[in-house]
């Protein structure tokens, strides 16, 4: 049976909401695909576009950023700034040759364990559908 393609997904989870949401999924025994490599950040506002472009360069097939719902941010405005930054980064990545569906931003609160697993599953399927970036590192676009 051919080994099915397993996409590499990097997940930047904001410590106060999404990371807690992932914990909630875990404690309530809700499974979600193991393709995601979670990186905990204090706030979605902390994520520098350089981190995302660097993740793609180092071989990620998809990057997920999850933060608090607008208005719930532990630092009051972190996700507002982040929203603007990623609103620009997404079309820019697409313009550079990385399908914009490989980069997704979701607001997941600490109580939405179930929703977190749905987000990760749907995103992993989406990236699997897009397939591996399949570019030799030497010629890789990012």
């Amino acid at each position: 049976m051919a080994i099915e393609y397993q996409p590499k997904v990097v997940g930047f989870l904001c410590n106060w909401c999404s990371y807690a949401g992932a914990d909630m999924a875990g404690t309530s025994r809700i499974c979600y695909p193991t393709n995601i490599r979670v990186i905990r950040v204090p706030c979605s506002g902390r994520i520098d576009p350089l981190l995302i472009i660097k993740s793609f360069q180092m071989g990620a097939d998809g990057v997920l950023v999850a933060g608090c719902h607008p208005g719930d941010c532990h630092y009051t405005e972190g996700n507002y700034y982040a929203r603007r930054r990623f609103a620009l980064l997404r079309p820019f990545l697409d313009y550079l040759g990385i399908e914009k569906d490989r980069f997704r931003v979701e607001w997941v609160s600490a109580s939405e364990g179930k929703r977190f697993s749905q987000v990760v599953s749907s995103f992993t399927e989406e990236v699997r559908r897009l397939g591996p970036r399949g570019i030799a590192p030497e010629r890789a676009v990012l």
Partner: protein, 287 residues
């Protein structure tokens, strides 16, 4: 009196009255055809100052080397937006800078020992013939501001391509990059004391001049200028391997315009797009 004479008289007056220590303008280059930046310190040297269609350089970045010294500067309309950018980001003090604004007749594309009659891209997209900020104005104000033809035509054309086509387009261009950083050194918006490229720990972009590192460099350089690039096209002019850098900057300029209705360099007070937000704005992110 042509533009050059008006500039020379103004420079002589400013230097003799000691209002400024130095006037930054243009002089004839050694090919006898194009121009190059000139720093005038003595009134009797103003004779070297020229102004014609080959004065393409954006001189505004030189103000960062003279932050606490009174300096006069010759500025075209597209360059003048860079002054607003630096004022907006608190890099220069308005009272230290005396701006000799030039009503721009349009410049020509130049390279070493060559001038082509083709109107450069920055003039085709010219939004103002008169500088957005000046202390003295040289040249007559034309009756009507130029109507911009279809803006971002080449960007829309790039967006129409498939993702794979764009991916190989950029891979091919970026693989020629030799990381000379002339695009960074000439850009008025690029003045970090330590560029992320020079950082060792964490190592964002290694010293390896290879396609993968080149792409991270070019992508992040452009993104750091999102909402800040004033469209003076200097980066594209100085690139030794002809990488279409403005295709990157203008894509971001177009997106920033559509998403946040903001244009760089038009005012020294307006908050730039990433320094502010509206709570309820719908940006198609996380909805």
């Amino acid at each position: 009196m042509n533009l050059a004479e008006q500039i020379r008289n103004k420079a002589k007056e400013l230097l003799e009255s000691k209002t400024v220590e130095c006037v930054i303008g243009y002089e004839r280059a050694t090919d006898g055809l194009t121009a190059r930046p000139l720093f005038v310190y003595e009134p009797e040297e103003v004779g070297k100052l020229i102004f014609d269609q080959t004065c393409t350089h954006n001189l505004v970045k030189y103000l960062l080397n003279r932050r606490d010294k009174a300096t006069a500067i010759v500025v075209k309309p597209c360059d003048s937006r860079a002054i607003n950018l630096l004022l907006n980001e608190k890099q220069i003090q308005r009272e230290k800078v005396l701006i000799i604004g030039v009503v721009c007749p349009g410049i020509v594309e130049t390279s070493w020992n060559q001038t082509s009659e083709k109107l450069p891209a920055r003039c085709q997209l010219c939004r103002q013939h008169t500088p957005v900020v000046y202390d003295f104005l040289v040249g007559e104000t034309p009756p009507t501001e130029p109507a911009v033809p279809k803006p971002y035509a080449d960007i829309v054309e790039m967006e129409a391509k498939s993702v794979a086509e764009r991916q190989s387009f950029w891979a091919e261009h970026f693989s020629r990059c030799i990381r000379c950083y002339a695009c960074r050194q000439v850009c008025p918006g690029c003045y970090c004391s330590e560029c992320f490229v020079g950082q060792l720990d964490p190592l964002w972009v290694g010293i390896r001049i290879a396609p993968s590192e080149n792409q991270v460099w070019n992508a992040i350089r452009a993104f750091h200028l999102a909402g800040r690039c004033i469209g003076c096209h200097e980066c594209e002019r100085v690139c030794p391997v002809n990488i279409p850098l403005m295709l990157l900057n203008q894509k971001l300029e177009k997106e920033v315009g559509e998403l946040f209705n903001f244009q760089a360099g038009l005012s020294a007070e307006a908050l730039p797009p990433f320094a502010t937000f509206q709570k309820g704005e719908k940006l198609g992110i996380g909805e």
